[in-house]
Symmetry: C3
Subunit: 250 residues, 3 copies
Amino acid sequence: MYISKKAKVGSNVKFGYNVIVEDGVTIADNVSIGHNVVIRRDTVIKEGCVIGDNTVLGKEPFKAAISATTEKRELPALIIATNVTVGANCVIYRGAVLKDYVFVGDLASIREDVTVGEYTVIGRGVTIENKTTIGRYVKIETEAYITALSTIEDYCFVAPEVTFTNDNFLGRTEERKRYFKGPTIRKGARIGANATILPGVEIGEDALVAAGAVVTKEIPPRKIYAGVPAKELKDVPAEQLLENQSYYRG
Amino acid sequence: MYISKKAKVGSNVKFGYNVIVEDGVTIADNVSIGHNVVIRRDTVIKEGCVIGDNTVLGKEPFKAAISATTEKRELPALIIATNVTVGANCVIYRGAVLKDYVFVGDLASIREDVTVGEYTVIGRGVTIENKTTIGRYVKIETEAYITALSTIEDYCFVAPEVTFTNDNFLGRTEERKRYFKGPTIRKGARIGANATILPGVEIGEDALVAAGAVVTKEIPPRKIYAGVPAKELKDVPAEQLLENQSYYRG
Amino acid sequence: MYISKKAKVGSNVKFGYNVIVEDGVTIADNVSIGHNVVIRRDTVIKEGCVIGDNTVLGKEPFKAAISATTEKRELPALIIATNVTVGANCVIYRGAVLKDYVFVGDLASIREDVTVGEYTVIGRGVTIENKTTIGRYVKIETEAYITALSTIEDYCFVAPEVTFTNDNFLGRTEERKRYFKGPTIRKGARIGANATILPGVEIGEDALVAAGAVVTKEIPPRKIYAGVPAKELKDVPAEQLLENQSYYRG
């Protein structure tokens, strides 16, 4: 175990074996850190968090020689707010913010310039790319892929293996860089398993994309779309609307 | 390296560096444990197993604040039977049972209340969610997603990136909790690459789902279904039926 | 930390905590190795490389009891050429070659008998299976699955969650072993997000597969195909052709 003398550690913090805590890290009271966890410099972990084995917190981006979207700059520290749970073998970057009660499954990764709202669940093996904003009470399920420059508002549901995209030009032309844009998923919208959402598409409030659909254009609020390419099927049934859910808090 | 005094270790056990073995663990003879492996309390590893580097065995579930399917209780220990091989960077939970000769690829995760039958292969990056039963001689290939409450019988084949689902209500209504159900894949059925299987659907014995299909309803035995949504295409050719395979043992 | 006396380490090499370097490893000058990294025997890391935390380099294949494509033999050492960057929690096998300036994202895995050409990017969570050749300036994006026996030529683009396949018989018949073959992606071809490519299919030079397509047969050069199954849509626009890109070097 290595804990830097330039780290601050609160009371009742449990450390597993072989934990590494670098300079400038702050760990509040009542935090539990698993075995082999790496906590990179300046990371802030607030009260009541649980971190699983072999997880890396506060990783700095490595720059690819030919990356189109990553520039080198000093990022703010990773902030993990109160009562957040992070699974095993995760990688969470410097420059991310996980708000209170966020839950991150095993083997997930979350990049820089990402905010994840309160009570949101990031599932096992999920990737959240950079420059993405995720609201409160969202569920992003196992192995879903959230591309850079996406927006997911409160109470959305993204099923397993969903794929978001942000580049209609698939790496060609210079002008594409002006058009990079991930999907925008409006409040309470739901995306079915293994669906694919094309760049910059907006999914309206409380809309529903069926499993396996390929969404090529805007979907209006409260509509169900299905198929390849996705077409309107019917209205979302009233009993499934967000406003009719017992857990909905506005 | 840390090996609890309350762990039992057999003869001819090879440990890598930085291995952590907690209280109550039992490791039988002739087991090989890679570097940085974490073996959580009570885990049982039987004779002849091989465990890859950086793998976590016997993890306890962390509960999400808003999870619909995980309750807190004391689970039985993780049991890894004889001659099982587990890759690197895996996460396998307390409450799982891996039977003799199971093979688990790198970066896979297997949750609690899961049984995996003899000689079954769980591929690289696969997720097996909780409350799932998998038979013998099954192959689940890379990055496939097996949702909670699924059943996969003997000799099934699940191709890469397949997605199983278990919630037709995508997180809405209270009644949905009564209907949570994963797919049931009958003996010898095969699911093609990147197919999506809707909640509770049954795939009949020795049936075949084509690559990329979205299966919305029951598929009869020995039929091939393809498309979005999947429709009957033809019969499975006789030479591909399970009963005509040299490796089939009944 | 454990560094074998039978390893050679150059000057200005930075090691994180708990690093394990086995016999016969060679690490050149100016290499940076993260925390908890495992470097298995004989691995060669050339000048200027950066390796992320918790990554395993030089893993030997573990053989599944019922694998159809893995035989046991002594493989050549893993070679990581100059200025390669590897993320955190990756697994890279003995018998792979990563050429100069390759970039590998977090949680990716690359198997034996794989060559990755100069400046190629292997994204986060990607799997590259064995016996696969990947050219220069290729981008393989997050969670894409490249099956065994695939060929991807220079300047190709493979979008997130794409699935390659190599077995039309899905594990049945003995004769299938003669027909195992992954896709061949010719120079500059591009595959859209979550597309599925059937075994042995050839995608022509500078062709484009739309997001979500299922490609069942050959695609001619410079054509766009879309749908399930994929059908010809139109020509690739001239401004997107490889020969018209500023970064194209022949």
